[in-house]
Amino acid sequence: MSKDRVTIGLLVLLIFLAGCGDQRILERTGFIQSTSYDLLPNGRVKFSISLPKADPEIKVSREFLTTVALSGKEARIKLARETNLMLVSGQLRTTLFGLSIARAGLWDHMDTLLRDPTISEQAKIVIVNGDAHELLQKNYKEYPRTGQYVDRLVEKEATGHTIPLTTLYSFTRDYHDDGIEPVAPIVKDAGQNIVVDGVALFHGSSYVDKIKADDSLIFAFLRGNFKHGEISVDLTKDTKESKTAMLSSLASKRKVDVRHETNGRTTVNMQVSVKVSVMEYVGKFRLSNDAQRHTLEQQISEIMTNRAARLIKFLQEKKIDSIGAGIYVRNSMSYRAWKKLNWYEEFPNVNLQCKVKVKIKDYGFLR
């Protein structure tokens, strides 16, 4: 009986001793929704955060704070001196990295993002072509809060696969994985609004170059399988009959084949089959006519194959295997052989071929 009493007493004590020290009461908390990192010439980091404001008495929709510090968490401590809210990172949606810091390498700055357990693995990484601080600071009149604006813009564009959706998780995975390099969407300030500028390519965690927005869907073909994409193909240069075609409901499937030639060269064959619906077609072909439609399919396939080949050449020149061909090469050989191979140096020498095959599965109501 007395033992029970002691137990109950201890349990009651536990309630009173809990102390509630780590409370984060909603209205007293500042949720960092977007952060930006820029490298200053003196080697320090300009760190900016944007917090949404919900107090009805305050007219502005967000709070924007900037400081210069060595690391993200040090910056947070400095920034906390400027605000009445308790700064927390658990609602972080987007981290913007300026081109300056992206060139120098992101990995050092990602440490806090990955280590802090409150930060979601799903937080997005976005590269800013220019100064990330300035982009985040600017208020775009016709759009929601800048942080949310970028977040929604990137998310929406990623659903159409014009840019990859790069989260902390996917970036870290590609960073650590052998035979693939991380990529991230890149945006830039266009005066009145923000535009998606293409796909940023990394070597390790350092920015190397980018792929233009127009080519980013071709890049998506090469990087993996996906559904729901859209692309507009200019046919004026390569064909006589047609001017342009808009392809929608794109479903792309990639097949990779690796062969080691006797002369020591490695050949990687990529077969991309794309099923599309034609949403717009300006030209002479009647799409209901099987023969004519097949001709069009072949023409589009050829154009796409050429564009893919150009893209692969570009990647090989830059020595960055962003499409993950290395993974297939790695899987085709022994661990020892792969370890001996310097894929970074080897990649430009690989005979990388890509063939895109387009199939029109639907051409709308117009005959």
Binding site: Q23, I25, A54, D55, V88, Q148
Partner: protein
């Protein structure tokens, strides 16, 4: 109170006192409602409580035959079966108390049942309403209740055992079961426990249950109570035992499981899909009523990460004017709702409606405008209050409402960890509970998947072939239709 035998049995021959008019009259001294009719020329004395007997029957059964005839004919008339010869004074007194008339003829005493009190007519159940299906409900009179059950189960296998509880009140308790369907272990256990009760007074079924349940310190009811004869009938058919207490409009059934409290007769009177849907809805309501407010408290106090982006700002905005931490805010609102509920339950229906309007508009609207609570909390509290009334069994919904306060407190102190710890503690507690010795969490623990089709959903009737495993019935099959 002095120790008298719980049961009026004439068997104890040692301290038998021969019934006599003088002794009986002295027992009932100062009871002015006792009527004494004396007919010296016939040597007959009549004793009865005027308000306990049916006067028509009194005249028809006793007065007319006895008083119209000759003195010589009286012994022959008294041999008729309705006149029961009594040899023990105690038995006689109990007989008079329970509405019988006592006849003293020369040296002999007889009892005649002319019981007839005015009671409430059979009416609709206030606490367990159904939309389709029978509407009649038990009344305060055990006899009426028994007849309601007999009307539904016309079987000689339906056995009724009469017990008496209460040293002073001498309340009749009837234990019902269907022979060859109910497990006799449960029947004997229940009877034994009821016999074991030694109290002065018993007024209601729920009172009795607190004397006989397995874990008196638990918040959960361990016997299912119902006011509906059709529901109680179905329990009998399921192989459970049923108890009726005289003076109480609710009958109980046992053994019972936690999940049984979430089924209503309505589930079976509607198409099985609708029945299944509303049963699932009740389990969802259980989760809502237990955890919704607690979740609000823990999220707004600790786990801001869990809130979706769009909700975050609305939530923060509505919280921004509130001067209290979420825990106090939630406790304040929950207490208000409980006050409203309690006031509504105690007041007559017409005033109760006014209370509802005052509570709904004044407290709901004004508390937000005054900046005392956030409107999202009002929605949360209201949703969990409504969800708590979805539970068909009032006793269970009251228990769950009480537990909710504990969870809110834990959520305010430890956040989601506290909430999880609280729910875990409840589950641990429930898995230790028994009802008449059978597990309270059947068919989840012990796992009886076969029962699930009649517990969590209502499967089409042709699949409901067996009685629930909890009743351990010797005759398992209840539906012999070919599939």
């Amino acid at each position: 109170m002095t120790n008298t035998d719980v049961q009026p049995q004439p068997s104890s021959s040692d301290n038998q006192v021969k019934p006599s008019l003088e002794h009986t009259l002295s027992e009932f001294q100062d009871c002015i409602d006792l009527i004494h009719r004396s007919y010296p020329e016939l040597h007959i004395d009549l004793l009865f409580f005027g308000h306990q007997v049916d006067h028509d029957r009194l005249y028809q059964d006793i007065m007319n035959p006895l008083l119209s005839g000759e003195t010589e004919a009286i012994p022959t008339i008294l041999k008729q079966s309705r006149f029961i010869r009594v040899r023990d004074s105690k038995e006689l007194i109990i007989g008079i108390l329970s509405g019988k008339a006592a006849i003293f003829f020369l040296q002999d005493a007889f009892l005649v049942d002319v019981f007839g009190v005015n009671s409430r007519a059979i009416s609709q159940s206030e606490t367990e309403t159904v939309i389709t299906g029978p509407h009649d409900a038990f009344t305060e009179q055990a006899g009426t209740n028994l007849s309601l059950i007999r009307q539904r189960i016309k079987s000689s296998h339906l056995k009724v055992i009469k017990l008496s509880v209460g040293e002073i009140t001498k309340t009749d308790v009837y234990v019902l079961y269907i022979k060859d369907i109910a497990n006799m272990d449960y029947v004997n256990k229940a009877i034994e426990r009821i016999k074991f009760i030694e109290v002065d007074a018993l007024f209601d079924t729920n009172m009795l249950l607190q004397y006989i349940d397995d874990a008196p310190y638990s918040v959960f009811p361990q016997f299912l109570t119902s006011e509906r004869p059709d529901a109680i009938g179905s329990k009998l058919i399921a192989g459970r035992i049923v108890g009726i207490v005289d003076g109480s409009p609710s009958a109980f059934s046992a053994p019972t499981s936690f999940f049984e409290y979430f089924s209503s007769s309505d589930d079976y009177y509607q198409r099985w899909m609708l029945g299944s849907a509303s049963r699932l809805l009740r389990f969802i309501a259980l989760i809502i009523t237990l955890s919704f407010t607690a979740l609000y408290v823990s999220i707004t106090t600790y786990h801001y990460e869990m809130i979706p982006e769009n909700l975050l700002l609305t939530l923060t905005e509505s919280r921004s004017r509130v001067p209290f931490p979420p825990l106090y805010e939630a406790l304040f609102m929950e207490t208000t709702i409980e006050l409203l509920r309690e006031a509504g339950a105690r007041l007559p229906t017409k005033i109760g409606q006014t209370i509802g309007i005052v509570g709904g508009i004044v407290i709901g609207q004004a508390a937000v405008q005054a900046g005392l609570t956030s409107n999202i909390l009002i929605i949360t509290v209201a949703a969990s209050a409504i969800a708590s009334f979805v539970t068909p069994a009032y006793v269970m919904s009251a228990s769950i409402r009480l537990l909710r306060f504990g969870l809110i407190l834990l959520a305010g102190i430890w956040g989601n960890f506290g909430l999880a710890a609280g729910v875990t503690a409840i589950v641990i507690h429930m898995s230790g509970l028994t009802s008449l010795g059978s597990s309270y969490l059947t068919p989840v623990a012990p796992l009886k998947l076969k029962d699930w089709k009649d517990v969590f959903i209502v499967a089409p009737f042709k699949f409901l072939t067996e009685r629930p495993s909890q009743s351990r019935s010797p005759n398992k099959v209840k539906n012999k239709m070919k599939k």
